[in-house]
């Protein structure tokens, strides 16, 4: 009797064992033919490949900062619309967060998964430093244009499965504090400047970014005045100990044949097989151009007459560049489009071939004059007025701007700064000099915002104020898809 049940039990158990015991394969996916964030970033080269991809998000043919000219209401372009649409400049918001996503994946792997485990700790720290620098660079743009933004780091839970809430938007000062912590780490572990790899994040580049953060904190909207001194000292350090210098001739800075010269601290890079957009895209119609990046005539007319102006703004140009580049010259007022264009990105800064086909010109991010001017601004504002060194450093730029590159003669009409200027006068002089020197280099919008110049720069050709202007315009609206989760900026 007992045996019957024992037997059935035994047989049944074997049957069940056969059935259930063999029937469980692992359901986790581990693809062979492609990588995932869980199995990548195991060598420094893989991490840097991710950094390359993060930069590719920002600057790629026909997208991101390659196609930016005229996107911001900084007073230099014909586009001065202040009635920001719901998704105004959302593509810039998007590409920065895409770049952050690529960087965070590296940090998550390297810090949490110890994916670089067997490497020299300093090599690992350098990778982390590059990542923190790059991430800070992205956030620095976001915080200046949108204010309180979500600070997503390698520690943030996956935002797709765990959507953010309004409380995930950090206070601006808190965000800067975090960025400064990251930048301190970056400065401690980045390499020195290497002329053979000039665009790679280095300690001087990181210091420049930090100096820019300091000067920004000192002004609107935080107005933390003690940051002027920090900005002054850090800028001084860069000027005195960094590898950068002013080139004697202004034109030489922008020649596409002279890329990554010593005046360039950082720029979005191009190569033959990863070029800029076509040269004709930003050219006047006479050149067969597509009229991208048309310059605001009022701003161009107010630009002081000096050699630098002719290298910065295309006011007069040959009417037929293809057959006779040296032929009849017309003024922009008589041209088809009726606007000037950006000389910095056009022939003869780039070759005629680049002008008519694919351009290898790149986009500037930080240039040495920026640091000189940060010093001047900060030194003036940290104390009670201009210092001699501040005056000298701004005048280095003005002198070069007034100098004819061919003859070496000082032909420009722009007055120099003097010690006689009041603190306010000198401050205005510095901000105006930034406007002139760094025009079309995607920096002016930040000065316009931090110095609250929007109403002033967005007047129309006749000087009439923009009716859409209000204080809320100093932050762009949060893109619609994101605002659903994290809330909207005031006024939208």
């Amino acid at each position: 009797m007992k045996n019957i049940y024992t037997n059935i039990l035994l047989k049944g158990s074997i049957a069940l064992l056969v059935i259930f015991g063999t029937s469980c394969q692992k359901l986790d996916e581990s693809p062979k033919g492609l990588s995932t964030p869980d199995n990548f970033y195991t060598t420094p080269a893989q991490c840097e490949a991710a950094f390359a991809a993060s930069m590719n998000n920002l600057y790629d043919t026909w997208s991101g900062y390659e196609n930016v000219y005229g996107a911001f209401p900084d007073g230099q372009y014909t586009n001065v619309d202040l009635a920001y649409g719901a998704n105004y400049n959302a593509d810039f918001w998007q590409i920065h967060y895409r770049a952050i996503n690529d960087i965070n994946a590296v940090l998550k792997a390297v810090i949490k998964r110890k994916s670089l485990g067997s490497n020299d700790p300093e090599v690992i720290n350098n990778i982390i430093a590059q990542a923190k620098f790059l991430r800070s660079f992205n956030y620095f743009t976001l915080v200046r244009l949108w204010g309180k933004v979500p600070f997503i780091t390698e520690n943030t839970p996956d935002p797709i499965s765990t959507p953010l809430t309004p409380s995930s938007r950090l206070e601006i000062a808190t965000l800067y504090d975090s960025l400064q912590t990251d930048m301190t780490f970056a400065i401690a572990h980045l390499e020195d400047y290497d002329a053979s790899r000039p665009a790679r994040p280095n300690v001087w580049l990181a210091k420049t970014l930090l100096a820019k953060m300091y000067i920004t904190r000192a002004t609107n909207p935080l107005n933390e005045k003690d940051y002027y001194a920090k900005a002054r000292d850090l800028a001084d350090d860069i000027i005195l100990h960094g590898p950068f210098q002013l080139l004697p001739k202004f034109d030489d800075v922008f020649k596409s044949s002279n890329k990554n010269n010593l005046e360039i601290i950082w720029a979005f890079q191009t190569t033959d097989d990863d070029p800029n957009i076509d040269g004709i895209a930003m050219a006047p119609s006479e050149w067969g151009g597509w009229s991208g990046g048309a310059v605001k005539p009022r701003w161009a007319e107010e630009y002081p007459d000096q050699p630098r102006k002719r290298s910065s703004i295309l006011m007069d140009f040959p009417s037929d560049i293809t057959t006779d580049p040296m032929g009849p010259i017309i003024n922009y007022k008589n041209s088809i489009d009726g606007t000037p264009y950006i000389q910095k990105y056009l022939w003869p800064m780039i070759s005629l071939d680049e002008q008519l086909n694919i351009s290898r010109q790149y986009a500037f991010i930080y240039r040495f004059p920026d640091v000189l001017l940060i010093y001047a601004e900060a030194a003036n504002m940290a104390g009670t007025g201009p210092t001699q060194l501040a005056v000298d450093r701004i005048n280095m730029i003005i002198d070069r701007a007034n100098t004819d590159g061919t003859t070496g003669l000082m032909t420009g009409s722009e007055p120099k700064a003097t010690m006689a200027m009041s603190q306010a006068e000198f401050d205005s002089k510095v901000i105006r000099e930034r406007d002139l020197e760094l025009c079309f280099e995607n920096d002016r919008i930040f000065d316009v915002f931090r110095k609250r110049l929007l109403q002033e720069v967005t007047v129309d050709e006749e000087g009439v104020a923009n009716p859409d202007y209000n204080e809320n315009c100093y932050f762009f609206p949060i893109p619609v898809a994101d605002a659903i989760d994290i809330g909207q900026n005031t006024g939208y």
Partner: protein
């Protein structure tokens, strides 16, 4: 008193009397026993010691069993073990003990090895041989291969070629069972007769018929779900070796569409409409338990039956793969008996069903001259053709490109099969060879198939089987239609054949392929013959499926079936466009080498328990553990710039440039556990519940397991007395079911974040671009299957003893968690700011009716069956309430799609699938409407658009509206079989009603400046104002008439989305007629055959339709979602086939 029986299962003695199995065993032993010859076994001389000389028979049995190795069996109703026996001795041999113990009873015994069986002497002694002849009641012809079995045993024989049989029976109470496919099974008691001649009647509907259901079989009468069955014999009528095509028109709710007339093309099969937008809607095909089979490569000759599972009660057992319905295929297996060889050969000729009406050479020349004359804005134009040239063309008629490209193509097919078997092994071996020329020159397809099905009865408790199937395809079928990589439709012969200039000869004066004319006509297209002869897509695929199982009978009613299956698919493609083709010419030839391999493994462990309690309660329990894994890997290289067209892509090293190289490797794992319980009470009340859990690797981390329940009820009212008393129904069953199924249409790794290459950037600032690896897709840990919940109500009816049958089903399906690309916030960093997610839902409701009847029986016999399916789909929810445009991108200037915002095909919440959007064209402006036309900046003779929003303008924003829908209102199939004497005739009519087709072909061929269509003859003139074809208005006339009047027509980037091209796609088609003649047996047997049949079959004979294109059944965008079907553009036309063949058996 323990009996060690089989499999070591111990059974109590009293258990014996109830155990059917033991009875069977005993009977077998008895039959095997030729009595005394066995009774001289060695062991009978063993000495048995007995305690008493007088004792009960039971004591004697115990004594023998305890003291020897013998076991003794008997039936308690035959042997009285309490009977006292007097043995006289204390010690004796087994034989003498037994002899004495049974003395004076009617019992004898048999000894077999260690077994002793008691039985009444007469049973043992009286085997009788019964003989007879079996004939068909309808024809009186002998029936060959009828299975004659002895009821209650597994003894059986098969009738020979003369219908004769001989079988040994035990006694007068034996019952013989005569069964034969297609005939009603007959049970006849022997009752003392030695000759039994039987006439079998074809069965109308056999309720005892067993149908295959998921992971098991069921009596048809017990099925509670909605299942359509198709017999293999119905599939072999078409001269095809594709079972998908053959299934068309045979089952309600199953819509088979032959989208592609190319040899080796595929048909789409939809069961109760399409549920998914992006996830694919192909039904799961299960061949002998092997999941993921392919009907298009399954030879119908190997098919015994096909069951189509439609409602959730039937399909939920397949869980996350069952949402699109399940097609269960049972292949043929061997039958006990001598080998039977079947051979058939057929030869057919295919021709184009219909040519499109085009202008011939001289007509086209004149049309071009007329058109050119209207281009007079800058002075009088030079006409392309002089009178002399036209006169010359009049003589030759120009080139009919359709005649050049399309040919009378042959097809031939050989099929052979051998089947047979013994008690131990049954086999079915089949081979097929199929060779089809394509309708288009230089296209061809060959297929070789081989199947070997072996069933082995290892012993009483173990069965084994091994099924193997190998399919080898070879052919050359260059892509046609849309969606094929760089081969835009202008590079397809089938597109240019309608558009190419008929005035140009095939070859120029030098013997080269002529180039398109430059002075007139369509300059986009290329010489169709150069294209056809210079395009190669040589494919070579091998599919091998292995399927094996072991089935253990563990206990009475309890079986364990362990199956192992493997599928191996290998595909090599060599695609080449030589330097004389449109796309090969500028780059000196362009081609691909593509290798693709798939492996699939499946192991299902099926535990089934069957129990009948008190004859009324019937319980079947099924438990399954299953694991599946599949791997797909391959590579693709494209290169161009070949120095020689002869070596072409075969020597890829000779290419000057590699365009791309890719390789891939993806895997999918599914673990499943499932259970099903069937319960029936008195065959009247039937309940089925099932539950399946599927764990799939492709689901997101949080949703690795999906759960799929179902339940169904059925009531066989015909078993109730009050219904029986009506004497009306031979069957009446009501069914109701509900359940959930899923669609796993997620590519592997779809839920993972992936890193991709190619996001390069000069990170270091040198002149080298650094490689960039970035995140190219975002993870969705919640990604899961699409879920379809389905409710079905059905009714099965049979009247007049089954001569009239009807099945009616209504169903409602709601598919939720549809896979769509869902926008996510930008801050997530997700590329394209979207992830694949489960959003959206779709509903399908429908009605299916199948009617069958045998209106005429007797010498002339007619059976008929008609099925009608109606399905209504409705999109319930999408990402948002806006219409969602679907991609129907085309090359070649057709301009029906530019972006999702201006697409022809779209989905919209609350609307059915297959919506077409565009401008409504209300013909042309009449002369009497000049003023109205002028208001739009148009003239009489211009196309007249409907100003939907009545704003006086025709704009994309205001006037794009619904212009058609591609979903049919109903589809139908009508099968007829007639037989008279030796003739059989079968006729299949099928069709659909109420669907629209967007005939995009007409966009180009009715284009005034270059069109080749004869429709241009019907263009608007003052004397022909009632037409859709606009006038050829000359430029000066237009300018003068419209001076100062601006055009109000602005059609945007997809201006050809016009209702003018929307046509009624309804059709009724005489799909197939087959006439067969069986030569008289008397004649055939003289040459050693048992059957010889000759047949002629014709397909696509006649189509009634208003549709003007090649065929209403084609659809260009058959690769994408179902929602974009119904566009006709550059399809490989369908063919009409006439086939002759013979079929012989020996």
């Amino acid at each position: 008193m323990k009996k060690d029986l089989f499999l070591g299962v111990f059974l109590k003695k009293k258990y014996l009397q109830k155990t059917l199995l033991i009875m069977k065993l005993m009977t077998v032993f008895l039959i095997l026993a030729t009595l005394q010859s066995f009774a001289t076994g060695y062991g009978q001389s063993s000495i048995i010691k007995l305690n008493n000389e007088t004792q009960t028979l039971l004591n004697v049995i115990d004594a023998i069993e305890n003291q020897s190795d013998y076991k003794i069996f008997y039936k308690t109703d035959q042997v009285d073990v309490t009977r006292v026996v007097n043995l006289d001795v204390n010690e004796a041999t087994v034989a003498s003990v037994l002899d004495k113990a049974l003395e004076g009873t009617d019992l004898s015994y048999v000894v077999m090895d260690k077994l002793i069986v008691f039985a009444p002497s007469k049973t043992i002694n009286q085997t009788v041989t019964v003989t007879g002849t079996i004939t068909a009641a309808t024809t009186n012809e002998p029936l060959i291969g009828v299975n004659i079995s002895l009821a209650g045993t597994n003894k059986g024989v098969i009738s020979d070629i003369n219908g004769k049989y001989a079988i040994d029976v035990l006694d007068n109470n034996s019952i013989l069972v005569f069964s034969f496919v297609g005939y009603a099974t007959v049970k006849i008691p022997v009752a003392g007769k030695t000759v039994l001649n039987v006439s079998l009647v074809p069965n109308i509907q056999n309720l005892d018929e067993v149908v295959v259901v998921g992971y098991g079989t069921q009596r048809k009468s017990d099925v509670t779900g909605s299942v359509s069955s198709v017999k293999g014999i119905d599939l072999v009528r078409l001269p095809s070796i594709r079972s998908d095509e053959a299934l068309q028109g045979h089952a309600a709710g199953v819509v088979v569409t032959n989208n592609d007339g190319a040899p080796g093309g595929v048909a789409t099969i939809r069961i109760r409409g399409g549920n998914s937008i992006t996830g694919g809607n192909n039904a799961l095909v299960v061949i002998d338990g092997f999941q993921g089979g392919d009907l298009s490569s399954l030879n119908p000759n190997e098919v015994e039956s096909i069951e189509v599972l439609k409602d959730a009660s039937a399909t939920a057992i397949y869980g996350s793969k069952g949402a699109n319905g399940v097609i269960l295929v049972t292949t043929k297996s061997g039958k006990i008996g001598a080998p039977i060889v079947d051979y058939s050969y057929s030869y057919g000729v295919q021709s184009i069903v219909k040519k499109i009406d085009l202008l011939n050479g001289p007509e086209y020349a004149r049309m071009q001259n007329i058109w050119k004359a209207t281009q007079n804005l800058y002075g009088d134009p030079v006409l392309p053709f002089t009178d002399a040239q036209i006169a010359a063309l009049d003589k030759t008629g120009g080139t009919d490109w359709q005649d050049q490209l399309f040919r009378k193509a042959t097809l031939q097919m050989h099929q052979i099969s051998i089947k047979g078997g013994t008690d131990a092994v049954r086999y079915f071996i089949a081979g097929g060879y199929f060779d089809q020329q394509g309708l288009i020159v230089n296209t061809q397809f060959k297929r070789y198939t081989l199947r070997s099905n072996l069933d082995i009865n290892v012993n009483k408790w173990l069965k084994a089987a091994l099924y193997m199937n190998v399919i080898k395809d070879k052919g050359n079928i260059p892509p046609s239609g849309e969606g094929v990589r760089y081969v835009d439709i202008l590079s397809q012969a089938v597109n240019s054949v309608l558009r190419f200039d008929p005035c140009t000869p095939v070859y120029d004066a030098l013997g080269n392929y002529s180039k398109p004319p430059t002075a007139y006509g369509d300059r986009d297209v290329w010489n169709p013959m150069a294209t056809a002869m210079g395009s190669f897509n040589e494919l070579s695929t091998t599919t091998s499926n292995l399927n094996s199982f072991l089935e253990f009978r563990i206990l009475e009613g309890l079986t364990l079936k362990i199956t192992g299956a493997a599928g191996i698919y290998n595909s090599d493609k060599r695609l080449y466009y030589n330097s004389l083709t449109k796309n090969g010419r500028p780059v000196n030839g362009i081609g691909n080498i593509t290798d693709d391999k798939s492996l699939y493994y499946q192991n299902s462990n099926i535990l089934t328990y069957n129990k009948i309690i008190n004859t009324k309660h019937h319980i079947t329990l099924t438990g399954v553990a299953e694991q599946q894994s599949s791997v797909n890997y391959g590579s693709d290289i494209q290169a161009q710039g070949f120095s020689s067209d002869i070596t072409g892509v075969y020597d890829i090293g000779g290419a000057s440039q590699t365009n791309y190289r890719t390789s891939y490797d993806s895997r999918r794992i599914i673990n499943s556990f499932l259970g099903r319980a069937n319960y029936s009470f008195a065959d009247k009340y039937l309940i089925t519940v099932s539950y399946r859990a599927d764990g799939s690797s492709v689901f997101g981390e949080n949703n690795k397991w999906g759960y799929f329940p179902s339940a169904s009820l059925a009531w066989r009212a015909s078993e109730e007395e009050f219904v029986k008393n009506l004497n009306l129904f031979s069957d009446l069953k009501f069914r109701g079911s509900w359940g959930k199924t899923g669609n796993q249409a997620i590519a592997p790794y779809g839920s993972l974040a992936k890193i991709g290459s190619g996001l390069n950037y000069p990170y270091n600032g040198t002149s080298t671009t650094d490689t960039g690896y970035g995140i190219i897709s975002a993870a969705n840990v919640n990604l899961k299957w699409e879920t379809t919940a389905q409710t079905d109500l059905g009714m099965d009816l049979a009247f007049f003893n089954g001569r009239v049958t009807a099945t009616v089903d209504v169903y409602k399906k709601k598919t939720s968690d549809l896979l769509l690309n869902k926008p996510v916030p930008f801050y997530t960093g997700a590329p394209s700011a979207q992830i694949l997610a489960n959003v959206g839902s779709v509903e399908n409701k429908g009605l299916e009716i199948t009617l069958g009847a045998d209106p005429v029986v007797g010498a002339f016999r007619w059976s008929t069956s008609i099925n009608i399916s109606m399905n209504r789909s409705k999109v319930l929810k999408l990402l948002n309430s806006l219409p969602m445009g679907l991609k129907t991108s085309t090359g070649g200037g057709y301009q029906i799609y530019n972006a999702a915002s201006n697409s022809l095909m779209y989905l919209e919440e609350g609307q059915p699938m297959g919506q077409m959007r565009g401008y409504i064209v209300e013909g042309t402006w009449a002369e009497s409407e000049r003023a109205e036309a002028l208001a739009f900046g148009q003239l009489p003779g211009d196309q007249k658009y409907l100003d939907v929003n009545k704003d006086g303008k025709i704009t994309e924003a205001g006037d794009v509206t619904l212009i058609g829908n591609s979903s049919p209102k109903y589809v139908f199939g009508w099968n007829n079989t007639m037989s008279f004497k030796n003739f059989t005739l079968s006729i299949l009519i099928q069709g659909c009603e109420g669907n629209d087709i967007f005939n995009a072909t007409r966009i180009q061929i009715e284009n005034p400046s270059k069109g080749t269509s004869t429709a241009l003859n019907d263009r608007w003139t003052v004397n022909n104002q009632n037409t859709d074809i606009p006038a050829f208005t000359d430029q000066i006339t237009r300018r003068d008439a419209l001076l100062g009047i601006a055009s109000k027509i602005s059609l945007g980037k997809s201006p050809n989305r016009l209702s003018r091209y929307v046509e009624d796609g309804s059709y009724a088609r005489l799909k197939n007629i087959t006439l067969g003649y069986n030569l008289p047996l008397s004649l055939v047997s003289k040459i050693g055959l048992t059957n010889l049949r000759a047949f002629v079959t014709a397909t696509n004979i006649l189509t009634l339709t208003k549709y003007t294109g090649y065929d209403p059944e084609v659809s260009s965008f058959n690769v994408g979602t179902d929602a974009v079907r119904g566009i006709d553009l550059s399809n490989y036309p369908t063919v009409r086939t006439i086939t002759l063949g013979i079929n012989l058996t020996f």
